[in-house]
Assembly symmetry: C2
Homo-oligomer: 343 residues x 2
DNA sequence: ATTTATTTTTTACGCGCGTAAAGATTTCAG
DNA sequence: CTGAAATCTTTACGCGCGTAAAAAATAAAT
């Protein structure tokens, strides 16, 4: 530890008794050198605490070891959890993840893509804003940088999409709700930013038709990413007008449901599936907070682990394939019904 | 737009009719060149869509334009919101923020500091894990990189700390609760990871002594960052044992309170400040979800905007001062009582 | 118009590392 | 032990830009 600080790879190579090109090769891919050489280098790294200058490394390399991760809204703990898994796997595979959040702003998303382009990443995992995304900006970006979309699909963009099967969410909740009580009406935002919302509405309509039940879609106003407040206000409005066509409400997503339940509590509606309860409420996503609503929220859960795991794995395959797939891949994971107390 | 792609600054300089050193100067600081020159360069940037290679730029620059942001736990929407404000201001000031989350893991935090060091950032905003942080790793890091701590203070580390005044939180809630009903007992984790928790307990004890009231501290088991579940389990335990010394509970933070309220609902305790309610519950932080608990949570709010704004401003000053302050700065912002329905 | 201060151009070198090519060395199968 | 294959060393160049220094051009002040 008492050794003086190594200034560059040249110096490091000389003190470790190995030629610089071999050291360089090692840092590009530790498995590309003989095991004995690798051991010597790693011993020297330990001893001298040397780390190559990442800027000089990336300057000439055609492909960096960076991976970009873009999420639409970090204040949603759902994405916090996804990011955790993704980052972990990137690091395990020897990549450096760079995390960005659009914070719900299309302008931000565009700027992030610009920034990412100049980072020359080996690949990017992009969860787009959805309806508000600048489609052409994303399209251009995907042509330059190997990209896997996740969470929200945008038709044809990127080399692959990995997400959850919205039909699987809705079919399970609708089936369960209509089997155990009154068939559900569907509660959602009028102009959802997220394309999954549209898929869920269609799945609801389809399921209701299959079951030969009459569908009711309740659409509430509101824009932005403050879903809870939109759900709460919308619920107040509907409940005060007594405009609910059934005693069972299926919310498009958990954050709306959280607001809905909060309104029910404020008004004094009892939510649950016991006798004496006024209303059943269920939803989709298994948001981290959904366990702690009052009552706890019956919902359909993303397969978090599989989605993030497969997204990363797909990106690695894409990188190894040189950034292009023969044809765009789409992988959807099924939901799992989470029975709690609200329905 | 039909122009062919510019490959480097040399080419860009020649097509824009300006010498390369001047162009380089411009990219270092646009205000350092004459206004007319700046206009010509910016017109050319627009026309040719040129962006300098960030790796080559940062290689030789003594100081990059990067700013590191480290948060302890991204799945907490509190930090999502803070990050949004911080990133915005960094970008406005011409810096590139790099976001990292320790995800509650001390090992991760250490790795992030290593990564950050090699990013050679102009400065770092660090919200440490707290008790579990590797203090010596952070200390070493702060010697190498100009760092401002925020959210959680660690004595003497970094050049400055910006956060909330825990005493201000607790004094307001305790004062309010004891003025309007039974004095509160204090509900917290036995081994809190976050140093703010300790400060809040001490503030509670101090306030109770001042008011000549008997303090009661209820400590529940549990480790990790799943505060809601720890709060819920702890509440179940305490409520089932009827071990609550008063009808008023002050939780150390909102996430514990969210779990506490969920347990109350499950057991059938009515929480609120109306006649007929069994229990009053209040807390601290004004977590984004605290508005949507049942009942909505009376709490004390961080001055989010001031904390994040002042943290960024302090870092900018630190950078301009060459990375060192005469003496360590500590800035604490007062809390604001948020009256809702739970107490 | 002349002087002075400011800005830009010209020229040139260096940063830390990637990488190519040719020769030397080591490893391992037979 | 021999020879081929794999790996390493030596040498050398280039990447895109920062930046220093001196000369030239421009702007501001007298």
């Amino acid at each position: 530890m008492g050794e003086r600080k190594i200034r560059n790879m040249e110096e490091f190579a000389s003190v470790s008794g190995i030629s610089r090109p071999t050291v360089s090769k090692y840092f590009n891919d530790p498995t590309s050198v003989r095991a004995s050489t690798r051991a010597r280098i790693e011993a020297a790294i330990e001893q001298y605490d040397y780390r190559p200058n990442i800027y000089a490394m990336n300057q000439n390399r055609q492909l960096t070891k960076n991976i970009g991760i873009v999420v639409p809204y970090l204040a949603d703990p759902f994405f916090g959890e996804i990011v955790r898994v993704i980052e972990m796997r990137c690091i395990e595979a020897g990549f450096s993840p760079s995390l960005f959040s659009s914070h719900g702003e299309p302008e931000q998303e565009k700027d992030i893509l610009d920034t990412l382009r100049s980072l020359k990443p080996a690949g990017v995992l992009l969860a787009p804003l959805g309806r508000l995304s600048d489609k052409s900006a994303i399209e251009t970006f995907c042509r330059d940088v190997p990209t896997v979309l996740f969470d929200s699909n945008i038709d044809g963009m990127g080399e692959a999409f990995v997400g959850s099967d919205n039909y699987s969410f809705v079919s399970q909740t609708v089936e369960y709700l209509s089997r155990t009580g009154e068939p559900p009406c569907f509660f959602e935002m009028k102009h959802p930013a997220n394309p999954n919302a549209n898929k869920r509405r269609r799945a609801y309509l389809d399921m209701m038709e299959r079951l030969q039940l009459e569908p009711h879609v309740m659409q509430v106003d509101g824009s932005g990413w403050a879903f809870e407040e939109i759900g709460r206000k919308g619920a107040h409005d509907i409940l005060n007008r007594q405009a609910l066509p059934t005693n069972t409400v299926l919310c498009s997503n958990d954050r709306l449901a959280i607001g809905f339940l909060s309104a029910c509590f404020e008004i004094g509606y009892k939510v649950g599936r016991s006798t004496g309860d006024d209303l059943r409420v269920a939803s989709h996503d298994d948001h981290p907070f959904s366990r702690y609503t009052c009552p706890s929220l019956t919902t359909a859960a993303h397969d978090y682990g599989s989605v993030s795991g497969h997204a990363v794995e797909t990106l690695f395959r894409l990188i190894e394939s040189g950034g292009r797939f023969q044809r765009r891949e789409e992988t959807l994971f099924s939901a799992r019904l989470i029975m709690r107390d609200s329905a």
